[in-house]
Amino acid sequence: MDSDDLPIPEIPPFESERIFDQPPAWRRLIARVLRHRSMMIGFTILALIVLAAILAPVISPHDPYAQELSRRLTPPVWHENGGWTHILGTDKLGQDYLSRLFFGARVSLVIGLVSIMISGTIGVALGVLAGYLGGRVDAVINYFLTVRLSMPVILVALASASVLGGSVKVVILLLGFLLWDRFLIVSRAVTRQLREAEFIAAARSLGASPLFIMLREILPNLLGPLMVVATLEIAHAILLEATLSFLGLGVQPPMPSWGLMVAEGKAYMFFQPWIILIPGVMLVLLVLAINLVGDGLRDVTALDGRN
């Protein structure tokens, strides 16, 4: 018993204890994003397309609406008949394909973003209400959801567009008022889980109103899953816009839309396959990029939970 009264030495914290002092969540998140390869690929493609859309007036070699009937259906540059004046060729009216692609990206992105803002607001509002209040409110909202799901988007959109006439505005409104189902389903499910969490009970015991709880306690916790849904739904909206335009009830010519370009090229595709392949590949690339980002977000945010 010689060493009982030894002073307790200063002991540096363990390596391992840094776990409680680790960098803030957002910095870890960014580190994970940078490590996620497919997400970075998605980001890169998406950034290029967004850039092309923003800079369309600057980088387009021609006016996208200028018709050169003498040079209609010029094939792209890698074709034996192609040339550098029209790198990606011209369509049946002799409009420059590359320029129309750049401007078409604007149409796709604007329609995707704006319609998702509308549908996201509707879906999240209804979803949080249904999930938090439950009971009759939930039953009524669920009934709205069933009504919506029992009518195929394409059918309703086509029928309404034929009544209202196709235009960018109509397409945005239609998609905005049709694509809220997934937002609702996800936000309701997450809200329901959160409602059982003890921090909601704690907030209620502090006297917080239901509105305060929904907006300040629940909504911030929904952002992760909602970002994922939003990206995937933007992709969905872009595809639907292309489909509507392809069927002739979306964006109207001469406005450039990738779906419309496929439709206009359809008659010539047997002899000039590039005419549908080029806008189609662009659509695939854009939607693929957005989906990769969305899937990546899901992976990255899923890890952020409790170990």
């Binding site: 018993m1 002991i11 363990f14 390596e15 002092d21 994970r32 704690a202 006297g207």
Partner: protein
């Protein structure tokens, strides 16, 4: 060690790859096990005890790697076995029982099917033979009308019965070794005693060796032959059970034994010997003694990794000062002041000090009836979750509400907090009737009464900082200016022991104990008079539990608080409360002051509950709780599955 060893483990290491780096879950452990021996692996969460068991079974998760110098089971080195050969060992010679009986059985197949397939996978028994064996074993584990049970599905059985089925399943092939990973942690105390008794009997009857993994020293004391204490992925001390409890050597073992309240031993209301700090997280490298930064006896030499020193036969200790500490009291954290102040307030005197009419909280015939299955086409049925409960809690005292899961204690708490409207009855705070359903009443309620919940992981909004979590209460009640609130919140966080550097962290960066401190600060910031503590420590490790209990005791004294303390842990209740109410089936079956209840219980149910407390006293064995024979009726599960009780059973 000896040649007759059933299992011999040398230098077992398990690493887990996580997103934050490599986690060294098990850092080189050695132990051996004889035929028919019961070895307890005991330790707090994250000490590597469960990972050890999975490593033995070769059932580690995908991100884990296992290394060892030897893993000899019945003379065969498990490291050299191919997958099919290991599979033949698993389930036949070495089986496992898991913690969660509710989820460990496949919901889609009948019990008979799941029992029989084990035997059929390892032997050429026919279905008929397998069925006979299953019926025999189900009867052995005490399941009534066993042959009919074979056609039932898991969801038709209560948790206790399911755990019995799991035990029968483990015995199907007559194994030499059963690994039981916290098999009673999810069960109520009376059921726990029954299951432990059963396991001990079967182990003797079948001469099976058992590795029993638990965090509960009470359980260890009652069933183990030999004990290995684990800390931070290492075995820090191993000894026969009596030796370990009577002459603990390692500072961690001694800390563990001192930090749990034991009825009749620790003085009620006195601060417990908490181990400071938190269990280290095992990501990254660790050199020297892992316990040294929490150890009151640490010396410079602790920077070097100590070997497992054998002190006496079979008693090994991993500490550089091994053998030189016995009999030495570890330097105490400075609690003498608190002790002196508490000393004058023994429970009886505390009670007597109160005037009869000085009542902080009173419930009169509070009732909650759940009507279930209310639908268009079905007749409703009722559950009386809380049935005409009347209680009084005097100012400055604490009332413990004890009972097993489903007894209605959480429902009662939720009504008190205004989270759930009562069906009938009234709540009086300081003599004034409060109607929690109208907004003024609710407001009055919230400023006087605040909750502390069980699960520190779900009780804090992960998107708010520590400071914000506490401040929001003031903002909701429009108290003070931003500046005054900042000071107020800062003081409160200091009081509960949250250092300033943590004030701007998010709950995800805090340990369980720190989170519970924040929850306490949030509850106290509105200066309520009454705290409703709903199992405030049952999700915490025992060393942290002691810190939180000490904090609650100090706060009660300093702020003159009144507690309604809800818990299933009778030892904790005995330590902290003045009066006890025992609840069962929605009614209070007995109430009285703490001493009376614990020393002279009147109601048979109270006696059963008290009998099932497992104090860490080796040699006493597991009490034989007759209880009511579980008949497998699903009343408890029904209540659970209807989502009436968000309370988590751990």
């Amino acid at each position: 060690m000896s040649d007759d060893a059933l299992l011999e483990v040398r230098n077992l290491r398990v690493d887990l790859q996580t997103s934050n780096g490599t986690l060294h879950a098990v850092r080189g452990i050695d132990f051996s096990l004889r035929h028919g021996e019961m070895l307890c692996l005991v330790g707090e969460s994250g000490c590597g005890k469960s990972i050890t068991s999975l490593a033995l079974m070769d059932l580690l998760p995908r991100n884990a790697t296992r290394r060892a110098d030897a893993l000899r089971f019945k003379g065969v080195d498990l490291r050299t076995l191919s997958d099919p050969a290991m599979r033949a060992v698993r389930g036949k010679q070495m089986t496992m029982i898991f913690q969660e009986p509710m989820t460990s059985l496949n919901p889609s197949w009948t019990l008979g099917n799941q029992l029989c397939e084990t035997l059929r996978a390892h032997t050429d028994a026919t279905w008929a033979q397998a069925r006979d064996r299953a019926v025999l074993l189900l009867e052995k584990v005490g399941i009534p009308s066993a042959s009919e049970r074979l056609n039932q599905y898991p969801h038709q059985l209560s948790g206790g019965l399911r755990q019995r089925v799991m035990i029968a399943m483990a015995l199907m092939c007559g194994p030499d070794l059963i690994i039981a990973d916290e098999p009673t942690t999810a069960l109520d105390v009376t059921i726990q005693a029954q299951i432990l008794h059963l396991l001990r009997d079967l182990q003797r009857e079948f001469r099976t060796a058992v590795i029993f993994i638990t965090h509960d020293l009470g359980v260890v004391a009652r069933i183990a032959d030999r004990v290995a204490v684990m800390y931070a992925g290492e075995i820090v001390e191993t000894a026969p059970v009596r030796e370990l409890f009577e002459r603990p050597e390692h500072p961690y073992t001694r800390g563990l034994l001192e930090c749990i309240p034991v009825p009749g031993k620790t003085a009620p209301g006195q601060p417990l010997q908490a181990i400071p700090g938190v269990v280290p997280n095992l990501v990254g490298t660790l050199s020297g003694c892992a316990f040294r930064n929490r150890c009151a006896c640490a010396v410079e030499d602790c920077r070097n990794a100590p070997p497992l020193a054998v002190l006496r036969p079979e008693h090994g200790v991993r500490c550089v000062r091994a053998g030189r500490l016995s009999g030495v009291q570890a330097p105490q954290p400075d609690t003498s002041a608190e002790r002196a102040e508490c000393a004058e307030l023994t429970p009886a005197s505390r009670l007597a000090a109160q005037a009869e009419d000085d009542v902080a909280l009173e419930l009169i015939a509070l009732t909650k009836v759940f009507r279930l299955g209310r639908g268009l086409f079905r007749s409703p049925w009722e559950i009386r979750a809380v049935n005409e409960v009347s209680l009084r809690v005097k100012r400055g005292t604490s009332l413990g509400l004890v009972g097993e899961s489903g007894c209605g204690k959480t429902t009662l708490a939720r009504m008190l907090l205004g989270l759930m409207p009562p069906t009938a009855g009234s709540i009086l705070i300081e003599g004034k009737k409060i109607d929690p359903t109208d907004s003024a009443g609710h407001r009055a309620l919230t400023s006087r009464m605040q909750p502390i919940f069980q699960d520190p992981y779900s009780s804090l909004n992960p998107r708010r900082t520590v400071f914000d979590l506490v401040e929001v209460a003031l903002r909701l009640h429009k108290v003070g200016t931003p500046e005054s609130r900042r000071i107020d919140v800062g003081e409160m966080l200091d009081r509960v022991g949250m250092p300033t550097r943590t004030h701007h962290q998010y709950p995800g960066q805090l340990s369980g104990g720190q989170r519970q401190r924040v929850a306490i600060a949030r509850a106290l910031i509105l200066r309520p008079k009454i705290l409703i503590c709903d199992e405030p420590t049952s999700a915490l490790d025992v060393s942290v539990q002691a810190q939180i209990l000490n904090l609650l005791l100090t706060l009660k004294k300093d702020l003159g608080l009144t507690y309604l303390f809800i818990s299933h842990n009778l030892s904790v209740v005995e330590h902290i409360v003045d009066e006890v109410a025992v609840m069962r089936g929605g009614v209070i079956v007995e109430r009285g002051d703490c001493t009376q209840i614990f020393h002279a219980p009147r109601h048979p149910y109270t006696r059963t509950l008290l009998a099932s407390i497992l104090t860490p006293e080796p040699g006493l064995g597991v009490p034989d709780i007759a209880g009511d024979q579980e008949t497998g009726d699903r009343c408890r599960e029904t209540e659970n599955s209807c989502g009436l009780r968000p309370e988590k059973d751990r």
